[in-house]
Symmetry: C2
Subunit: 249 residues, 2 copies
Amino acid sequence: MAIHLFPLDGIPPIHPGDDLPALIAEAIRRAQLGARPDDLLVVCQKAVSKAEGRIADLESIEPGPAAGRIAAELGKDARIVEVILRETRRVVRMDQGHLIVETRQGFVCANAGVDESNSLDDHTVILLPENPDASAAALRAALLERYGMDLPVLITDTFGRPWREGLVEFAIGAAGFQPFADYRGRRDLTGRELQHTVVAIADELASAAGLLMEKDRGVPAVLIRGYRYTAGPGAAKELLRDREKDLFR
Amino acid sequence: MAIHLFPLDGIPPIHPGDDLPALIAEAIRRAQLGARPDDLLVVCQKAVSKAEGRIADLESIEPGPAAGRIAAELGKDARIVEVILRETRRVVRMDQGHLIVETRQGFVCANAGVDESNSLDDHTVILLPENPDASAAALRAALLERYGMDLPVLITDTFGRPWREGLVEFAIGAAGFQPFADYRGRRDLTGRELQHTVVAIADELASAAGLLMEKDRGVPAVLIRGYRYTAGPGAAKELLRDREKDLFR
């Protein structure tokens, strides 16, 4: 039971209002992959955010005094800090030039996921989708209703991590599958009951797809074939640890 | 350019002193996969640790007073806490029943990676390899010299993360490839220079392989085919952030 990762390339740069389901359905057809019951669709956040118009034009941003002070402290553009603060529920760390926050959606990440790269032009930044689980559900519904493609959908973004260098792809939105594989109560190969093993499958799928989403190529989506996901309702927000249970916030 | 993940199954439970290179070479042959230049081998920590005899027999462990107090505080077995402390360089967090430490190898993880599941019997626990990068290099060298298989090697373990629920597979040892894809200085699709984008490819490869390393099945190794890794020296310890640069330690 192998797993196969197929890049969905040839998708043009996305602009606000673009019909993302149509572009993705077309890319799946172009790749002559069909859409099988063991397929799962992964789409990068940037494509979703751009299509949804989740962008901010820095030329229209008037930084407030807090944004100005934080920008000076961190050596950042005050207009970008203003946009970050508008997307922030709580600042988690502010040090060494980094601004790690809990976003309004509950993600803990640098700069509230506000991103300058692969944007529309040099004065536009891209924000996280307002509700990435809803974005995933809408994309899944459109692919099913309009194109007959019944695919679980995963939306991913590239975040840093504590303790480890480098960024990896994480799940930020999901629809149509369980984000965890829960082994609790099942037995290991020696017959011992597995106690603590809940695997964040959605994040592993995200990182797998990340191997094909190279930053300087246009691969905004990946089809994962052969992974035995558990179908059903499921949302990426289930992956977010409650603040009270978190030892690092 | 698709990526394919093949499980290497049929490998028997590993015991101390087993010839891991022989077992893996045999599994690759049995799977009739050959060994291609675009292949990369992923092996789970437990197989490596067991073959290396990195185990502790709890019946022979005499917990010291610190282990006894910490065990009482956290509700753990004092003998296991004693083993954990022997593998620990520094305790990072001790709260809510969790013991998060920096291991002697530099990994930040729960219980210093000391693991009871898929062990040899009910009084044995498994430790991380003494030097997982050296383990990866030795496995790579043995596969090349004895079987003519020229494969980059990645050793992985399953860790939790701050902020997010669920475990995922991480890189703990590597040989024969660069653990990062560094996009700095390259340009995005709009021509803007990518500033901060260094992707921890080794961790993404680990998580991808993790999709096939189900905890209640015997899949200790995975062959990843088609990922365009950069060959050359490289070690998983490069992934470890220096403590001074870490905002969460």
